[in-house]
Symmetry: C2
Subunit: 223 residues, 2 copies
């Protein structure tokens, strides 16, 4: 668990930290993508990628011949997923902040050779970006599964950081004549755009129904 | 410019790459936060942070006594900002994707000693998360500026990756009986929540007006 100690020592927001698995898992599950950092021979590189969690593992995928995927194999990496929840406007410029939730995983990416596990990871990746979607696709052939590199990172060394709620002000600023509060932020899903476009677009599959309008958007409230 | 070469060699999406400064700057300017990766002595760490661009520099800030800020000083790092624009649902599971824009900056963080530059960076950071806000704050004192570490990374070695548009299908999948298209995504700003909450919340400052409803949300269209 030395990785956890590293994270504590490096963390800017240690006071907001958590090592609860359920907290970490929930952040990973909600984030649409993560950023993976690895120290390649030429230096540190951080790239975005989608991910999916199954139990105590996070999976990422890519072309097995890509240099990036090869660089990730069996070397230490850091996988970080962050959700932005709000802009925190304090009366003092100094105390402005963001409400956010981030999960940081430190581990080593293991290449998944097992075909069944690789297929399960690909299903999880599709279901992650669109729940309910997997069964409404032309599913991957054996050669497509072969042509997809899948890496697995375990969640043994991970932590979460969370900031919520209103601004924290210095006592002397509480009566300053500035608007203060939080502007909630959330990733909003718009009206699905059919391909190819058609005048009569027909019915949407049921699993897409809920993404048709912003009426479903849940924004945080406090106070 | 060896960093650019590194990025090309490691990039998974080299075919979607760009080295146009205006493209890179626009992504950095729109992204609400970035992820910074650094190889600390104990391993690679990737943490989220807000950033602001002024010309050909990106600034990040934090407590100057935080281990994280000290770890970033004068060492090579990678700063990556990603905007998610849509979920790309192809008929084949294999061709599912995300529409996204990412900017990757490889450089070294220089500590900003100059007080005027540090103050300008802090103003830029506040204006980044909320344009128009700086002049409606209690502005930082000399000691608050002193108590804020500011790091500067130049944009000489940077690249962008962008995916847009509908799914790309294999020819044999074009008639498969599955819905295909894009679900647009955008970070939506909700109704500002005043602190402390009040029944008569009064008028919002004009610079917050535009974030009151999702009517302002611009979602991409294609076809």
């Amino acid at each position: 668990m030395t990785g956890v100690d590293k994270r504590v020592r490096l963390g800017r927001f240690a006071e907001r930290g958590s090592y609860e698995f359920t907290t970490i898992a929930a952040i990973l599950d909600e984030a649409m993508l993560c950023h993976v950092g690895v120290s390649a021979e030429d230096g540190t590189v951080v790239l975005p990628t989608i991910h999916a969690r199954i139990g105590r593992y996070v999976y990422v995928h890519g072309s097995p011949v890509a240099k990036w995927m090869r660089a990730l194999r069996s070397v230490p990496l850091c996988l970080t997923a962050t959700i932005v929840d709000g802009i925190v406007l304090a009366r003092s410029a100094f105390n402005h902040s963001l409400n956010y939730r981030s999960a940081v995983v430190i581990g080593t990416a293991d290449h998944v050779d097992d075909v069944a596990e690789r297929r399960a990871a690909l299903e999880a990746l599709v279901e992650y970006i669109c729940p309910g979607r997997w069964n409404d696709t032309r599913q991957p052939t054996a050669s497509e599964i072969e042509a997809t590199g899948v890496l697995r990172v375990n969640l043994d060394v991970a932590s979460a950081k969370v900031r919520t709620g209103p601004p924290v002000e210095f006592a002397g600023d509480r009566d300053a004549p500035h608007w203060a509060g939080v502007i909630p932020l959330a990733l909003h899903r718009g009206r699905p755009l059919r391909d190819p476009p058609a005048r009569d677009a027909g019915e949407l599959p049921p699993y897409l129904d809920r993404v048709r309008s912003c009426a479903n958007l849940c924004l945080p409230e406090y106070g």
